[in-house]
């Protein structure tokens, strides 16, 4: 089926599609002239269908959402085309007319529920406000209606929830409230802008199920924007792939996954980690312990000496344990994966290992015992290096790349002074960056390149252990695959061990020899990679594994 006949079929099926975008283009005025964000976009959402829009950061997918909502920044220039909601041209509407349409006929669910709800207003009022504004209900009616709306989203005690403030609800509950608000006026179209990205795996799974359930109940049309192909395949009927402002491929979701035609889509699908394809280094032949964590505990907001003196019985209750009684060992040359949701304590462990966090218990590095953060010496710090999640934040913006990489070389005296320059070039080459990058500043590099610099800096110290704290989380899928591959190559070359902290189970199953699972600050499971699916896994591990999108488009790999 060609693209055109398919589009025609779809149009024939529903005479007036819920949303049709025809040949739409958008640019932004910047200091460097006009920058094109969207080029000749054609997109149709038939009534009652969900269309996915997939693209990496900077592809223009969020611009698309804001164009449809008619809420563009002042420097946006629309260079042509049409956006029609049930046949009505939105581009001609005044801001006043749009205010009536937004929330009533079109609504939007944002990425992060903690920022899309007003923290000073009760949740009930936030839902009721929409109902009062668009359906003309009285306050009492609106609150009653809000309760019904919340109950529909599977919140167990909706009446209580209405009285709460956003900070008194969990992330998943907040997103349910946002979704309830979006559905409240039974709109014709709902735009979902990465609604699960800020949530934990398990919660995200529930929200997706909720979305599917509500869609079946209300028959709403939806535009679902995401960077995650696996996730999109679960909720949408049709998908469009957006690359640099151009739709490079569209079609039914099954077909796009099974037989991607555009090179970009192939690359994108190929980059999605496949848990069954191991790409890590060979496991060390004989397991030798490098570092041992013995009863590690981190108590955030621990009581002061005075509090302990007067209220000894409260000492345990004050503050909370970021990690408690964590025991495991890292072997020489291996890659140990640490997985868990946000707040599970995995980053706390990274900070303890890197000597950034006070802790209780002992660290044992090849027989030498370290009892606390202050006892960590420079020799230890050289042997253990850390790479942070956000490459934008981990490089000093006022230092050149060369200076940044040279610092560990000078600090630890890795190479003699006169050879530092040559070594920088070597290190840059190791992370596959051109040597002339040494003279650039971090802001001149892309996110993936910056992360390579951070990795080069860590390996410059010639460490025995590199801690990677969610190093791929802030990167796009295709960049993420390249960075993971690079890490494996560096491990192969240097023989360093690696503690790889992530929330991405598919990725870690590609890389790690052994996997530790953390939950609420405790180590709940620890297993070798092949045993991931065995029966004696902890129920929490099983739940996590079941929650990740299971899509293994095997054919796609063969094509790609």
């Amino acid at each position: 089926m060609t693209l055109q006949t398919m589009t025609q079929d779809v149009i024939a099926a529903a005479e007036k599609p819920a949303l049709s975008i025809i040949n739409y283009s958008l640019s932004y005025k910047t200091a460097n002239g006009l920058i094109s964000a969207l080029k000749n976009i054609d997109l149709t959402i038939p009534k009652g269908k969900t269309v996915g829009l997939v693209g990496e950061s900077g592809s223009g997918k969020s611009s698309m959402a804001w164009s449809v909502m008619r809420y563009l920044p002042p420097n946006a220039v629309e260079t042509g085309g049409a956006i029609r909601l049930a046949g009505e041209e939105l581009l001609d509407h005044t801001p006043w007319q749009m205010a009536d349409i937004r929330g009533k006929r079109m609504s939007m669910v944002f990425q992060d529920p903690s920022t899309s709800l007003n923290p000073t207003i009760r949740l009930g009022e936030q839902i009721a406000e929409v109902l009062m504004r668009h359906r003309g209900l009285t306050k009492a009616q609106a609150w009653a209606e809000a309760e019904v709306a919340l109950a529909r989203t599977g919140i167990t005690r909706p009446k209580e929830m209405l009285q709460r403030f956003p900070h008194e609800a969990s992330g998943g509950e907040k997103q349910r409230v946002v979704i309830a608000t979006a559905f409240a006026c039974e709109p014709e179209l709902i735009i979902f802008d990465e609604p699960t990205t800020a949530l934990d795996i398990l919660t995200a799974r529930q929200i997706l199920d909720l979305f599917n359930q509500l869609r079946d109940e209300t028959n709403v049309s939806a535009l679902y924007i995401s960077h995650d192909l696996g996730l999109v395949s679960r909720v949408v009927d049709e998908v469009s792939v957006l690359h640099k402002g151009v739709i490079v491929e569209r079609g039914l979701v099954g077909e796009v996954f099974a037989k991607p035609s555009a090179p970009y889509t192939k690359q994108l699908i190929g980059a999605v980690p496949n848990p069954d394809r191991f790409i890590g280094v060979d496991a060390p032949a004989e397991p030798k312990t490098l570092i041992k964590l013995d009863g590690i505990g981190v108590h955030y907001g621990a009581p002061s000496k005075i509090q302990k003196m007067f209220w000894p019985e409260d000492a345990e209750k004050v503050g909370f344990w970021g990690a408690k009684d964590v025991n495991f060992e890292v072997r020489k040359g291996e890659l140990l994966g640490v997985v868990g949701e946000s707040g599970s304590g995995k980053s706390t462990i990274a900070k303890v290992l890197a000597g950034l966090q006070d802790f209780q218990g002992n660290l044992e590095i090849e027989g030498k015992t370290v009892t606390g953060r202050k006892a960590i010496d420079r020799a230890y710090r050289r042997r253990v290096q850390i790479v942070f999640q956000h490459p934008d934040a981990s490089l000093n913006p006022r230092q050149k790349i060369g200076t940044i990489i040279a610092r560990p070389l000078k600090l630890y005296g890795v190479v003699p002074r006169e050879k530092i320059k040559a070594r920088i070039a070597e290190l840059l080459e190791m992370v596959r960056l051109p040597a002339e990058y040494a003279d650039r500043y971090p802001h001149q590099l892309s996110g993936g390149e910056k992360q390579r610099v951070a990795i080069a800096r860590a390996f410059a110290a010639e460490p025995e252990l590199v801690i990677c704290d969610e190093v791929t989380a802030a990167l796009d899928v295709s960049v993420q695959a390249a960075v993971a591959e690079l890490l494996v190559k560096l491990q192969k070359d240097t023989g360093a061990a690696c503690v790889f902290i992530t929330h991405d189970l598919n990725l870690i199953r590609q890389l790690a020899h052994r996997i530790a699972v953390m939950h609420h600050g405790k180590l709940v499971d620890f297993f070798d990679r092949p045993d991931a699916r065995s029966e004696d896994r902890d129920p929490y591990t099983k739940a996590l594994l079941d929650a990740v999108p299971v899509h293994t488009p095997v054919e796609a790999f063969e094509i790609a």
């Binding site: 910047t30 200091a31 890197a354 000597g355 950034l356 960590i376 010496d377 420079r378 710090r381 050289r382 290096q385 850390i386 942070f388 999640q389 956000h390 934040a393 981990s394 490089l395 000093n396 913006p397 006022r398 230092q399 610092r407 560990p408 600090l411 802001h443 951070a454 800096r457 110290a461």
Partner: protein
């Protein structure tokens, strides 16, 4: 740099600042008359070809007096600010970097000082130290220190938790390296911007002290003092009050607008966006 001049604030601020700085550097050289020369026959004249800005109660040429007064006025503002920023930044950086009880103690003391208005605080110090330019300058800088310390501390705190600082800590860098190479360069821009804006306050406080007779002493050509001396003759010749008054306003406005523009230009969200 092109971005900097895209805003009207920046153009205006730079223009006014250039006039003031030009007067401060070349003023005494280009002054047409001796600023202290009496001319009893031409007292309280309005602007004329001979005296462009008119003359004061002793027949002294106002243009010459304003021009020769520029260096001391600007030097007062810049000097007091530099001193105040220096003292304040050191206190703030120490507080921000050390944290814990040292931070708490320093900041509580400074909070107490901040409760006293700048001018009142300055007057108090000048009364204790005695009048004169140097004492007034010292007083203004002491009055500025608590505010600057707060700004320096918050700048340091916002940088201190960044990943590149944590990376340096994890590497085992010395405290001195972390503060001078990682923290300070990134905390500097808010301090510089605030300092530029504060120069205008310093000039105004200096002028106020001069007006109250606590700063510069006659026959100095400091602008605030000029306003004070000419006050009695305001209705006979408004020019002798207006000219030094306008000069103060231009200098203050110039520094203020320039500082505002600098803040916008140094804001990474705007320059990279």
């Amino acid at each position: 740099m092109r971005n900097f001049f895209s805003s009207p604030t920046a153009i205006m601020g730079t223009a006014l600042l250039s006039i003031v700085l030009f007067a401060a550097i070349f003023g005494p050289m280009i002054a047409p008359y001796d600023p202290q020369a009496f001319d009893p026959l031409n007292r309280l004249q309005g602007p004329s070809m001979a005296h462009l800005f008119g003359t004061d109660q002793f027949g002294r040429d106002l243009l010459s007096r304003v021009l020769t007064g520029a260096p001391s006025t600007v030097a007062f503002g810049v000097g007091a600010t530099l001193l105040g920023v220096g003292i304040g930044s050191i206190i703030g950086v120490v507080a921000g970097v050390s944290g814990g009880w040292i931070d708490s103690t320093i900041m509580r003391v400074l909070d107490g000082l901040l409760a006293v208005p700048d001018l009142l605080f300055t007057l108090l110090i000048v009364t204790i130290l005695g009048g004169g330019m140097e004492h007034a300058m010292l007083a203004v800088s002491i009055a500025f220190a608590p505010g600057m310390a707060r700004i320096a501390r918050s700048a340091v705190l916002s940088v201190r938790t960044r990943d590149y600082v944590r990376a340096a800590v994890a590497r085992g860098e010395s405290g001195v390296y972390i503060v001078t190479c990682e923290v300070l360069p990134n905390a500097l821009s808010p301090i510089v911007v605030e300092a530029t804006i504060r120069v205008s306050f310093a000039i105004m406080i200096g002028a106020t002290l001069g007006f109250l007779g606590l700063g510069a002493q006659p026959p100095s050509t400091e602008w605030g003092l000029m306003v004070a001396e000419a006050r009695q003759f305001m209705f006979r010749n408004p020019w002798c009050v207006a000219i030094p008054g306008l000069s103060i306003a231009i200098a203050a406005l110039g520094f203020n607008l320039f500082g505002d523009a600098l803040r916008d230009a140094l804001d990474p969200k705007r320059s990279h966006g």
